[in-house]
């Protein structure tokens, strides 16, 4: 297993380098001049020239790239043109917020989606299956921003149960932190729950028909044991892959959700950086996200191997 992970990490290096080139070039090709954005109203030529020099914007593009990647390898992603803070600091500040949101959303998605999928497969064709499918379809088709606003109106404004916005770092006040993050995580989690439910359902349907489930019943096992120990374990193999691949959807959803609930996370950092043409920040974020994606893929394959004994021998 360790060898497998090591091997995958090694292969990931050229991928990440390629992505970094792509990100860097894309940024350079986009319209808009960061120096103009930076200088604001004060557009005297000397000032602009000074800024260009300061940020090495006059160097040939490959020199700029190599400088950037060389520093990045040493953990320096440059300075935000906007705030003058190191990009790594910004990311380190915002990332935990988004990770907390994502983990809580995934938690909601899993505790809603997987049991609902199991139940609707097990009760296939009954009213339970129908209800689960209709709810899932609604979950997929209701936009997050609408659900978010409705929940704010209901839960915060009318009922006053949870705060409508804001953020409390988990380390400062865990309970308050969970409370503020609860609603956004739920909103973000519901769409994923629907996807998960449908995958779980179809995997379970296949497995429940299998010969080994019949064997389990032939042993006289109770239905709980048949479903959980014999069916679910096999059905979860593809579902786990789906969960890890949902990571992308989760991140995209997080950007939007953070806007709705004014959470100062990664999503807000991205949006601000793009609007401000804060190159260094955008590049840093995209690079980090790409690395995270690759790690999630490796994790997904590793989990698949753990759950699937046939794979782990090889």
């Amino acid at each position: 297993m360790l060898r497998f992970i090591g091997h995958r990490l090694l292969i990931a290096i050229p991928t990440i380098l390629l992505i970094s080139v792509f990100v860097f070039l894309l940024q350079k090709l986009l319209p808009g001049d960061p120096v103009l954005a930076l200088a604001g109203e004060d557009r005297n030529p000397e000032m602009l020239a000074f800024l260009r020099e300061k940020y090495h914007l006059n160097d040939p593009i490959y020199v700029q790239y190599f400088n950037w990647i060389w520093n990045a390898l040493q953990g320096d992603l440059g300075i935000s043109l906007r705030t003058n803070q190191p990009v790594t600091t910004l990311i380190a500040q915002k990332l935990p917020v988004t990770i907390q949101l994502a983990v809580m959303a995934l938690f909601f998605a899993v505790i809603i989606g997987i049991p609902a999928g199991i139940l609707s497969a097990y009760k296939k064709g009954t009213w339970i299956d129908w209800v689960a499918n209709i709810v899932a379809l609604s979950g997929l088709s209701i936009p997050n921003f609408w659900l978010g606003i409705m929940m704010i109106l209901l839960v915060s404004v009318n009922l006053g149960w949870l705060p409508a916005s804001g953020y409390q770092p988990f380390t400062d006040d865990p309970l308050q932190s969970l409370k503020t993050m609860m609603m956004p995580a739920f909103v973000l989690g519901t769409g994923l729950a629907a996807t998960l439910m449908r995958h779980t359902r179809s995997a379970m349907l296949g497995v429940l028909q299998s010969d080994y489930v019949r064997t389990a019943r032939a042993k006289g096992l109770g239905e709980r044991s048949v479903v959980v120990k014999h069916a679910l374990r096999n059905a979860l193999v593809p579902v786990v892959t789906v969960v890890t691949l949902l990571f992308g959807e989760l991140l995209a959803g997080a950007v939007l959700t953070e806007q709705i609930f004014t959470i100062p996370g990664f999503g807000k950092l991205v949006v601000d950086a793009v609007f401000n043409r804060d190159y260094a920040v955008v590049q840093g974020i995209v690079l980090c996200t790409a690395i995270a994606f690759i790690l999630m893929n490796i994790l997904s394959d590793a989990l698949y191997r753990v759950l699937n004994p046939k794979m782990s021998d090889q």
Partner: protein, 330 residues
């Protein structure tokens, strides 16, 4: 006939919900302690459905038992509440399926899959159940059993997996084993080994067995009694010697004559001209009429009743039985 039979099936009928024709129709047979009944018949004649119905494992819906009783140690298997049926399954009745490659859970170790069956029906501790699983692997003659406890099914060949299935089915020394074509999926040499193993284990434990097969060679080797099924019905049943030496039903006669001799006999039952009528289009009279050389107008109109042939438990469902006179006359 001092003792009541271990299993007494009477009038078993199975159909698909919402249809009018039975897939299995009015099936009756008995099985004594320690004996082997072979059920033979062409593909699709309802052999597996019969076994699954006795196990309470029919895929309901759409399949449903619509009539009959199956007395087993004082209970009716067909109407027993699910919780009580679960207590019998895997304990008093074991089942071996046709497909060794897919019948074991790919995600669980062999030892655990056997031990689980033991723990479900006994008070044994985890360690004791594991020891028992090891003992079962030994008894089904799996080489190096200690090392096999912790392997997954994909590490074993088909023959080895079927041995594991046998170990599971016999783990609690059941009174009855249902074996649905246990060797059909295996190579010929492996088939012989597995059958011999089953026969030895059966002799040691006194377990009764219903063995479903296509293979008359297997019947000759294993059976005490034979039940011949055609299109969901029992057409003839009796002691193995009577069925082989004195078959009465035209279908059985056809089967026997398609067999090239007992020693080499492993031919599939496919040599009678014609095909089985589809379940949704079953004739009103004898279901074999369209293929039967002796059929007449009565056969096509009225389903034959079952009559005794000879003074044993040999019974046949045919208007023309006993057939000797007909053949002599012809």
């Amino acid at each position: 006939m001092t003792e009541a039979p271990l299993l007494d099936v009477a009038g078993l009928s199975i159909r698909i919900d919402g249809t009018a024709r039975d897939l299995v129709s009015d099936l009756s047979f008995t099985l004594n302690k320690g004996e082997t009944l072979c059920i033979v018949g062409e593909s699709g004649c309802g052999k597996s459905l019969t076994a699954l119905a006795l196990m309470g494992l029919l895929a309901t819906p759409p399949l449903r038992v619509t009539g009959g009783t199956a007395r087993f140690r004082g209970d009716d298997l067909l109407t027993l509440p699910p919780a009580q049926m679960r207590k019998l399954r895997g304990d008093r009745i074991g089942m071996i399926f046709q497909e060794p490659m897919t019948s074991l859970n790919p995600a669980l170790k062999i030892g655990d899959q056997i031990a689980e069956a033991v723990r479900r029906h006994t008070e044994l501790s985890e360690a004791d159940a594991r020891a028992h699983a090891l003992e079962m692997l030994r008894r089904v003659r799996i080489p190096a059993p200690e090392t096999r406890l912790d392997v997954y099914p994909h590490n074993l060949s088909g023959g080895m997996r079927q041995r594991v299935m046998i170990a599971i089915a016999l783990a609690n020394t059941p009174d009855l084993v249902l074996a649905d074509e246990p060797t059909t999926a295996l190579d010929v040499t492996i088939q012989a080994q597995v059958l011999e193993l089953m026969r030895n284990l059966q002799r040691d434990t006194g377990t009764a067995m219903i063995l479903i097969t296509h293979d008359l060679g297997v019947v000759a080797e294993m059976a005490d009694h034979v039940a011949v099924m055609y299109a969901g019905q029992m057409v003839e049943t009796g002691p193995v010697a009577a069925i082989f030496d004195d078959p009465q039903h035209p279908y059985t006669i056809g089967l026997m004559s398609s067999m090239p001799g007992l020693d080499g006999g492993s031919d599939r039952l496919v040599t009678i001209p014609g095909v089985v009528p589809p379940a949704r289009d079953m004739p009103g009279g004898c279901r074999f009429a369209a293929r039967c050389p002796f059929a007449d107008a009565q056969c096509a109109q009225v389903p034959p009743t079952t009559s005794a042939a000879g003074n044993t438990s040999h019974r046949v469902a045919c208007w023309k039985a006993p057939l000797e006179q007909q053949e002599d006359a012809a």
